[in-house]
């Protein structure tokens, strides 16, 4: 088969998808090392292996569309354009952090980038994302809210409450289930009445079951374009199930040994980044261009890490700020 150069517009898009995925991977890989070094405290939940979902959707979103994500949210923040320096700063809890050190890894928020938060109470953000979509519908702003969550989330009431009302309202919201096969340490299949935790519930709310290979960024992007377009066009919500896998454990130092070795190795072979690189090379993209993208990501990560390392700890004075609208935690009479 002769390799043909892809059309330029298409190529820009695809190199962009690659750039985002690589940036996410480098950022998170280093974040994990920094966790073991003790610089990132508490916990981290990495999306290594799931980058294609974040990249594919973000590339289809308008700058003012809303992202709502979970504690596994670094990739989504990065894909929406959140800069790495303040993101590492937040992971380190430093004053230069996105939220001044108040949030940490699990609660990444950047209103400026319409990254409306990583939520750590499972399911809570689905009704909230619906509310944001409703406001867009009311304001006729044309914005869409995209809400990412895990397979485990499909068994909590808020998932069902949000889907029902989103369908009733024909709200401009896209619910994206990143089915990485596991809750924390329990396989989703062991605790769910249907095989496809999200898609098999869609019909209960009058929605089409949409399943996509969550490790194929082109496929994700195509679904994202279609569902965002549908939402923006007034045709209502979608529920997308993206089948994917986290390469590591649920969080922190979890080695994920509750997963069969052959299952892990088969998914590692389907790494969304290496497979995409192979696909791009197969259509004639220069390996050197891809190498350059990788080198750029590495350099950005290093610069961001350095900036965050140098940033001071927040002053204790900030603990009582931004509690109420008057800026304080105390009422001023």
């Amino acid at each position: 088969m002769a390799t043909t150069k892809p059309a330029l517009a298409d190529l820009d898009l695809r190199l962009g998808l690659y750039r985002v995925m690589v940036a996410c991977r480098r950022f998170e890989t280093r974040a994990q090392e920094l966790f073991f070094e003790g610089l990132v405290r508490g916990t981290t939940h990495l999306g290594i292996g799931q980058e294609a979902v974040a990249a594919g959707f973000a590339a289809a979103m308008r700058a003012d569309d809303y992202t709502f994500a979970t504690y596994r949210g670094h990739n989504h923040a990065l894909a929406r354009g959140t800069p790495m320096g303040p993101l590492y700063g937040e992971l380190f809890g430093r004053a230069n952090g996105l939220m001044g050190g108040k949030g940490g890894s699990m609660h990444i928020t950047s209103a400026e980038h319409h990254m409306m938060g990583s939520y750590a109470i499972v399911g809570a953000h689905l009704p909230i994302a619906l509310g944001a979509a409703w406001s867009a519908q009311y304001r006729k702003s044309g914005q869409v809210a995209v809400c990412f969550f895990g397979d485990g989330t499909t068994n909590i009431g808020a998932f069902h409450e949000a889907l029902n009302l989103a369908a009733v309202w024909k709200a401009p919201v896209v619910f994206v289930c990143e089915n990485n096969q596991y809750m924390e340490y329990t396989a989703i299949a062991a605790v769910t009445a249907v095989a496809r935790p999200a898609a098999d519930r869609a019909s209960a709310y009058g929605l089409e079951p949409i399943v996509v290979d969550g490790n194929d960024v082109d496929a994700v992007h195509e679904v994202a374009v279609a569902t965002l377009g549908r939402a923006r066009g007034g045709d209502g919500p979608s529920l997308v199930e993206a089948i994917t896998y986290r390469h590591g454990g649920h969080s922190r130092a979890d080695p994920g040994t509750y997963r069969p070795a052959d299952e892990v190795s088969s998914w590692l072979a389907r790494d969304p980044i290496t497979t995409y690189r192979a696909r791009l090379e197969a259509v004639g993209v220069d390996a050197a261009d891809l190498d350059r993208i990788e080198a750029e990501a590495t350099a950005k990560v290093a610069a961001a890490e350095a900036a965050a390392r140098e940033a001071p700890e927040p002053s204790p004075d900030v603990i009582e700020t931004e509690v109420w609208a008057d800026g304080s935690s105390r009422w001023r009479n």
């Binding site: 108040k102 949030g103 609660h107 009704p127 944001a132 406001s135 409450e161 700020t321």
Partner: protein
Amino acid sequence: MALKTFIEAVREGLREEMVRDESVIVLGEDVGKKGGVFLATDGLWTEFGDDRVIDTPLSESQIVGTSIGAAIGGLRPVAEIQFADFIHPAFNQLVSEAARLRYRSNNGYSAPMVVRAPYGGGVHGALYHSQSVEAFYTHVPGLKVVVPSTPYDAKGLLRSSIRDDDPVLFFEHKKMYRSVRGDVPEGEYTVPLGKAQVTHPGTQVTVIAYGLMAHYALEAADRVAEENISVEVVDLRTLRPLDKETVLDSVRKTGKCLIVYEDNRFGGYGAEVAAIIAEEAFDYLDGPVTRIAGPDVPGVPYNHVLEEWFMVNPEKIADGIRKLAAY
């Protein structure tokens, strides 16, 4: 000035805010065509239509969660929880999300919204239609909690709550909806959040109350006035932020303080007020800070004798005042 019922004042406040500001939206179970089970939103759907007065599914966490998202997106939702007793499914959304958005985003965004809920006993509502729930929420920094006692305050405080940039819980005592009337002026006025009011000046004992209890405190003050006990009644109006200055000024003057609340005594809102007085006005006290509050049983019982036993009333308050005055 026109004489209005408490619920008419709430309705007028809602309506006038909706006229003033297109981003004000009302949602809840049966709030549209029916106008709410207590008719607090009666007529709003006819006037403002489906886009702004929304009948929701029966899902309280959804009602509050969706309001949070809408507020993030620039609307000013006013959600009705049919009875305060049913707010618990939304506890997570209020405490984990609404209260925390501003802090967690370092002021990147917040949830300016109001959650209205009828609370309180004395209407034979029994175990699941009578509770006071304010203490769960006054505990949470980031939330504001308002409990008006008069039609004037209900309207003025509701307007301020809708305009406030923080999430506000607005508790309306259901027994007052039609039994309490008061003057409500025509035209625009607001009552600021975080300001208590001395509703009965006096010199010997301070009685601090809110909601229905603010009325009962006034009745009790009248009763003991005949016995030459001079009582100062402070109606808190906003529980959080608490107007400490008005409370402490009164206690420093009288030297004695009785706190009244309908909720279960143990861990109730008044316990916090008592602690603040003990910490900040100890040198002025001539007696213990005492409380008249609901008994520690898990719900307001149904039978009228039992319900009367549960409910704080003017005579129970008057007794509390007498004991303190004799100190």
